[in-house]
């Protein structure tokens, strides 16, 4: 699980000796901190020009050529409806789904952090009703002032139907 961003000053001092299952990749979307389970993240790359695809939902940015592989890229901020003046959007997080890879545009990396179970607060069932935020499954406390929104990347961009119309069969 390589994090390929040599230009970024990655603060990894937070990595405690825990197993991989408890490690999270923390990143910024706007000014908010989000955390994705490290095991879901395949790699991080600098943003590449995307090729638009017709008939797809608005947050579907397009396709990129990732070392010869064609990968779909999603604007994660748009999908989560995060409005911010921050124009960063410099990185793409590649998530491995069951068949292929999908990328999500993020603003900046923060760190890789290990959260103990005690530091994590899984959302109660109330929020699960809204299918759109099912993948935001909890909150973790980073330090005294900061909370991290835990997001299940596979559920968020992996398996969902990204097509604009679900039934696009032409007779």
């Amino acid at each position: 699980m390589a994090i390929q961003s040599p230009e970024q000053n990655l603060n990894t001092s937070h990595i405690v000796n825990g197993d991989e299952n408890n490690q999270y990749l923390l990143f910024f979307l706007g000014e908010e901190l989000y955390g994705a389970p490290l095991l879901q993240v395949k790699e991080i790359v600098k943003i590449l020009p995307t090729k638009k695809v017709p008939f797809m939902k608005p947050y579907f940015k397009g396709l990129i050529n990732l070392r010869g592989q064609v990968v779909s890229v999603i604007d994660l901020r748009m999908k989560l409806s995060i409005n911010t003046k921050n124009q960063n959007q410099g990185l793409v997080m590649i998530v491995e789904t069951n068949e292929s890879s999908i990328g999500a545009i993020i603003d900046d990396l923060h760190s890789v952090h290990h959260f103990d179970k005690s530091e994590i607060n899984i959302n109660s069932n109330a929020n699960k009703q809204d299918k759109n935020t099912e993948y935001l499954y909890g909150v973790a406390r980073l330090d005294e002032n900061r909370l991290v929104n835990l997001i299940d990347m596979s559920a968020c961009i992996g398996n969902e139907d990204l097509k604009l119309m679900s039934e696009m069969k032409v007779s």
């Binding site: 020009p49 090729k51 638009k52 695809v53 017709p54 008939f55 797809m56 579907f60 397009g62 396709l63 990129i64 050529n65 010869g68 592989q69 064609v70 990968v71 779909s72 789904t97 068949e99 292929s100 890879s101 999908i102 139907d161 990204l162 097509k163 604009l164 696009m168 069969k169 032409v170 007779s171």
Partner: protein
């Protein structure tokens, strides 16, 4: 289970499957070969080694069944038992059982399958040595009526109802008789004449797709040769760099040779996945035989193009549709002997199965000299099932295509075509998923021809690069007919609101690609002027369409890349490719847009 145990079990299962294919073809040929001695010896060896290996890797159940089969084969070998249709059918049934057993074992080494029935039958025929004829007569006599009623009910309940519907009475009579007989008859023998017995229908383990392929050693040698050459060229270049001795002309030479090598390696590598279609044809021969036997029709299958090669994945998927088409050909297409004689045909009907490779496409053709498709009946059936209102605007082709519509046949054929839920609509769907098409031709009274066209899945496609709205797209070369300067043509408007141009006497509809790709604001075509200068003419199913585009950027060999499912099933998009500049570009299937355009042209906003 230890690792090595798993390994040997797995490799046995793979080999066993192909052994079984060989055995099946051998069984089928048993009936028609004059001197079957060599044949039988061969089969016996196959069965014997099968039994031995199965036992060695610990599959006792398999070995057990193989043992019974071997017993029967021993008797056949020494001529103590005669090769009769009953025997052949029984052996083929054994192959079926073995196949299911193997397939189950592939997903679970502990898969248990009750083979007691077939073992009993094998033992029974073995014990009938000396009085084989009597034994068979008894079985035949008991089930003669069942066969008869099966044949009657099969030809009554058919998918497309193309024949004259039989009397209500006969149908209920024969099914009554069927019910009565099964009550009184030995259940085992009645199932003998069903290609799919009840026990096999209950447990059908999921089809685990073979992860291994058999590759001709010659192909591998060729590939290694070319790779060797490439290594040599690499060393030459390496050496030149070290010596500091690089002339541009040298580089050009090396590059040019490398290009040739790369092309060859590419061709051979892609051909590694290709397997000959012959085993598929053998399976179909078996299917045809089974169906013909049940219906008591004398049908012969002729094959051609056995060594045409197909990508393995395609082969795996095309077998069900083809099986269905063959069954239909025998079931509905071919008349029974009496009718054939009346029509002045030979008693023996023929089905031709042919594979041909043209360009980038493999055509699989199923032809029969049966009764052909009855257009009137098809139209009636379609109207009856609410698929169309009237047949006014339908071309002959479109009428035939009606049989592919889901809901065309409401009755499921009980004995024959059931078991896998494959209907003609699924056939079309499967073929389309393989990016192929189906064509039908027919002459009433003479026969029908079904052609399945499948594009060979080459990873590299020749295409032209076009741009619309500042985005580049790829149109596959095989689709392209010509490019034209649209501003030289005057468009006309048809009564459907379509725009057409007259190209050297041909009327071709014109679509605007920018509109087709743009979800917002489908321009209703009141603006009849053609905006662009450039147009391309593409053709599908012998119909041409013209598309307005912004510009053409040239022709290129495009590497087709796998794309995720989220895009894979969009209309009009076959895939994505990487063009020379490194950009990703979508590969368009303009056929979908030409249909869409026509439809939107009709409904003016």
């Amino acid at each position: 289970m230890e690792d090595f145990e798993i390994e040997i079990k797995k490799s046995f299962l793979d080999e066993a499957t192909s052994l079984l294919e060989d055995t099946e073809s051998a069984f089928i040929s048993l009936e028609t070969i004059d001197d079957p001695t060599d044949h039988i010896n061969n089969i016996f060896r196959l069965a014997h080694s099968f039994k031995g290996s199965a036992k060695a890797v610990g599959f006792e159940g398999l070995a057990h069944l193989a043992h019974y089969m071997e017993d029967v084969l021993t008797l056949l070998k020494s001529n103590r038992l005669k090769i009769t249709p009953y025997v052949t059918t029984l052996l083929l049934k054994t192959v079926d059982v073995l196949r299911i057993y193997l397939s189950g074992l592939k997903s679970d080494f502990n898969f248990a399958y009750d083979t007691s029935e077939i073992c009993h039958e094998l033992m029974a025929i073995k014990n009938s040595e000396g009085h084989q004829q009597e034994f068979e007569n008894k079985i035949n006599g008991v089930t003669e009526n069942i066969k008869q009623s099966l044949a009657n009910s099969t030809s009554d309940n058919n998918d497309s109802n193309l024949e004259e519907p039989d009397d209500e009475n006969t149908e209920s009579n024969s099914s009554n008789a069927f019910v009565n007989l099964t009550d009184h008859t030995n259940k085992k023998t009645s199932e003998l004449f069903n290609p799919k017995t009840q026990s096999t229908e209950k447990i059908v383990p999921k089809n685990v797709e073979d992860e291994n392929i058999r590759v001709a050693v010659k192909k591998l040698d060729t590939l290694l040769n070319f790779v060797g050459e490439m290594v040599v060229q690499k060393s030459i270049l390496d050496q030149n760099i070290k010596d500091g001795n690089i002339q541009v002309s040298d580089l050009v030479n090396i590059f040019s040779y490398m290009s040739k090598l790369v092309t060859e390696v590419q061709t051979v590598s892609m051909s590694l996945r290709m397997v000959p279609i012959k085993p598929l044809f053998q399976r179909l021969k078996r299917t045809l035989r089974d169906v013909a036997q049940i219906q008591q029709k004398d049908v012969e299958l002729m094959t051609q193009g056995d060594d045409v090669e197909l990508d393995k994945l395609i082969l795996d998927r095309i077998i069900d549709p083809l099986t269905h088409i063959i069954r239909n050909a025998v079931d509905h297409g071919i008349e029974n002997e009496a009718d054939r004689l009346i029509a002045g045909k030979t008693e023996k009907a023929t089905v031709w199965l042919e594979a041909v490779q043209e360009d980038n496409i493999v055509k699989i053709i199923v032809k029969d000299n049966g009764r052909g498709l009855n257009k009137k009946k098809i139209i009636e059936k379609a109207i009856q099932n609410g698929l169309i209102n009237s047949a006014d605007n339908l071309s002959e082709n479109e009428i035939y295509k009606l049989i592919f519509k889901p809901g065309f046949s409401t009755k499921e054929v009980v004995t024959d075509i059931s078991g896998r839920g494959v209907g003609m609509d699924v056939v079309l769907q499967t073929v389309q998923e393989l990016k192929g098409s189906v064509e039908i031709q027919s002459i009433e009274g003479k026969g029908s021809v079904f052609t399945i066209n499948i594009p060979l899945s080459h990873a590299i496609l020749g295409g032209i690069i076009i741009s619309v709205d500042d985005t580049k797209y790829i149109v596959p070369l095989p689709h392209l007919v010509e490019t034209i300067r649209l501003n030289r043509f005057n468009p006309h408007s048809t009564k459907n609101g379509e725009r057409v141009i007259n190209l050297r006497g041909e009327i071709i509809p014109v679509f605007n690609l920018s509109d087709a790709l743009n979800m917002k604001g489908f321009r209703s075509q009141k603006n009849n002027r053609i905006q662009s200068e450039q147009g391309i003419i593409v053709h599908f199913d012998n119909q041409k369409s013209c598309f307005e585009i912004d510009a053409i950027h040239g022709q290129q060999e495009i590497v087709i890349k796998k794309i995720g499912k989220e895009i894979g099933s969009l209309p009009g998009i076959i895939g994505a490719g990487i063009i020379g500049s490194g950009e990703v570009s979508l590969i368009l299937n303009l056929k979908d847009f030409s249909l869409k355009g026509a439809r939107y042209g009709n409904s003016v906003a």
